[in-house]
């Protein structure tokens, strides 16, 4: 089979060459179509829809000027909402964790109690939690329990389930089977296997992701105020309503400081745990 069939070589080469040519033609057609689509969208969405006069007029500079005039008088009213924001994030993360444990149990293929049906329920809950935006969860809970931090906490807790339970479930699925085998051989019950062979393996993932989710929840809680769920976001919304541009800048800076604080804390917490 090693000898090349020389008599048909030219014919086969010609076929391959024409195939290549056709592939090239298809590729260029696709490129051209994509380019046209992008150009057309820019024209319709950006060029036609923008108020170009305003963009290059004096009012833009004037607005920026207004924002740069930081209103420090708001600062004294920011301490309490900032604390609220951090507490909301912390409580919401813990509540999210508690809610995530049963969801992860259902959604981990190797330990799910009722086979495929409970697995599907678990996965559905994870997807639902993640596919709805936190602002939408906020609106739902504000209408359910009224304005205030409780609505924000519930919104974030429910929004956190998706990420926390998914990562826990995946960690459970990726668990090393060797300790499980050893614990079965020792005569462990199913529950003892869960506690001794599975739990120690998922603790690092568990703790790391909790810290990560807390960090994200601080960001979330700063904007959840926009829908009336308390915290710094609510102050931001009020300053906007009053058209106090300098105040808006102050609140945004406060949010920035808070997020950096969250970043620093989670960095050290992760180092300490893992």
């Amino acid at each position: 089979m090693s000898a090349v069939a020389y008599d048909t070589l030219d014919a086969r080469a010609a076929v391959l060459a024409s195939d290549k040519q056709r592939a090239r033609r298809v590729r260029f057609t696709v490129y051209a179509a994509v380019l046209f689509l992008v150009a057309w969208s820019i024209k319709v969405i950006v060029v036609d829809d923008t108020d170009w006069k305003r963009l290059f007029g004096a009012s833009l500079l004037a607005t920026i000027q207004q924002f740069l005039d930081v209103d420090m008088s708001v600062v004294k009213d920011l301490w309490e909402p900032a604390l609220d924001t951090v507490l909301m994030a912390t409580i919401a993360t813990l509540a999210g964790l508690v809610l995530s444990i049963p969801v992860a149990w259902l959604g981990a293929a190797n330990i799910t109690p009722l086979g495929k049906s409970s697995y599907m329920v678990g996965r559905f809950l994870m997807t639902m939690s993640r596919s709805v935006h936190e602002i939408v969860w906020g609106l739902i809970f504000v209408s359910a329990v009224g304005l205030g931090t409780l609505a924000g906490i519930l919104a974030m807790a429910v929004r956190s389930i998706g990420f926390i339970s998914k990562t826990i479930a995946e960690a459970i699925e990726d668990v090393d089977p060797k300790p499980i085998e050893a614990m079965r051989a020792v005569g462990c019950t199913r529950f003892q296997i869960l506690i001794f062979a599975i739990l120690p393996q998922i603790v690092p993932v568990f703790v790391g992701n909790m810290i990560f989710e807390w960090d994200i929840n601080i960001r979330r809680s700063t904007v959840l105020g926009l829908v009336g769920a308390g915290g710094l976001g609510l102050v931001l919304f009020r300053q906007m309503a009053m058209s106090n541009y300098g105040g808006i800048t102050t609140v945004i800076l406060a949010i920035l400081v808070l997020i950096i604080f969250g970043e620093v804390v989670s960095h050290f917490a992760r180092k300490a745990v893992i």
Binding site: D176, K178, P179, E181, A182, V186, G187, C188, T189, P200
Partner: protein
């Protein structure tokens, strides 16, 4: 160490005394998944002073054979009589009680990585403990004392509180040995204990298993692919090939022809 030959007895290994009692009787054991047969009618008897080595090429069914004994793998037929109970027919519920009487040592140690040496050894007692006591790790003083004695015996008394992922391979296998022995087992199953270790450590580990089993009068059933190591430590060899027992006898009977029978490539 006097060889007693009993006429008519199926076998009389050199080290066997008259008092040797069968601990495990395997009769016509069959195992496999679907159409694939892994063990075909394997039979043997393990006495209380035996150290059996199961040798054979990879895929011969060595690992399945010892896992059928403690039902980590469910056999398809035959009998596994241990402690006068047929394990093959034992209901799922009573397996826990049977398993805690059988210690197992693994090829890759199968330790719980993020726990300390002490906690890993004590996990060998979980089969005797209730749910609540085990969740809070309320091991009895007696168990902790026993763990300290065993750790001292395997030479790890300086590493009691270290996490096992900090130990070397040989040290990790010693933890595995201590975990198996704290069960106070009536038999030890050993699955390729040395393939993850270098040759010098491998001999030390085999020696330790043999000594500790002898001290406690526990028989050993050991999978091992290294024939020299098997012959150096065991009292009797079982040769498996493709799920069939091709040889059984003392190591000095394991000649070229026998090895050829066990390791010959099957021609299809």
């Amino acid at each position: 160490m006097q060889a007693e030959r009993v006429p008519g007895a199926p076998r009389a290994p050199q080290a066997a005394s008259i008092a040797a009692k069968p601990v495990l009787q395997v009769r016509n054991l069959r195992a496999g998944y679907g159409d694939k047969e892994i063990l075909r009618d394997v039979s043997f008897t393990l006495n209380d002073d035996d150290f059996f080595a199961i040798i054979g090429p990879s895929g011969a069914g060595k690992s399945t054979l010892i896992r059928c004994v403690n039902r980590l793998v469910d056999p398809k037929g035959g009998e596994v009589i241990f402690d006068s109970v047929d394990l093959v027919k034992a209901p799922q519920k009573s397996l826990r009680n049977l398993r805690r009487n059988i210690g197992m040592i693994f090829q890759e140690f199968n330790l719980i990585e993020r726990m300390s040496v002490m906690d890993n050894v004590l996990s060998g007692r979980l089969g005797y403990m209730g749910t609540l006591r085990s969740v809070f790790r309320l091991y009895s003083k007696q168990d902790i004392r026993q763990a300290l004695i065993l750790l001292d015996r395997v030479g790890l008394s300086e590493h009691v509180n270290k996490r096992v992922d900090r130990l070397s391979g040989g040290q990790r296998q010693r933890v595995g040995i201590a975990r198996a022995l704290i069960q106070n087992p009536k038999m030890l199953l050993v699955d390729e204990p040395t393939s993850a270790l270098d040759p010098k450590i491998a001999r030390e580990v085999m020696g330790l298993i043999r000594e500790m089993a002898r001290e406690r009068k526990i028989p050993v059933l050991c999978n091992i692919h290294d024939v020299d190591l098997a012959c150096a430590f065991c009292t009797r060899v079982i040769g498996l090939q493709d799920g069939v027992k091709k040889f059984e006898g003392p190591p000095d009977k394991l000649d070229k022809q026998a090895l050829h029978d066990i390791y010959a490539m099957e021609v299809l």
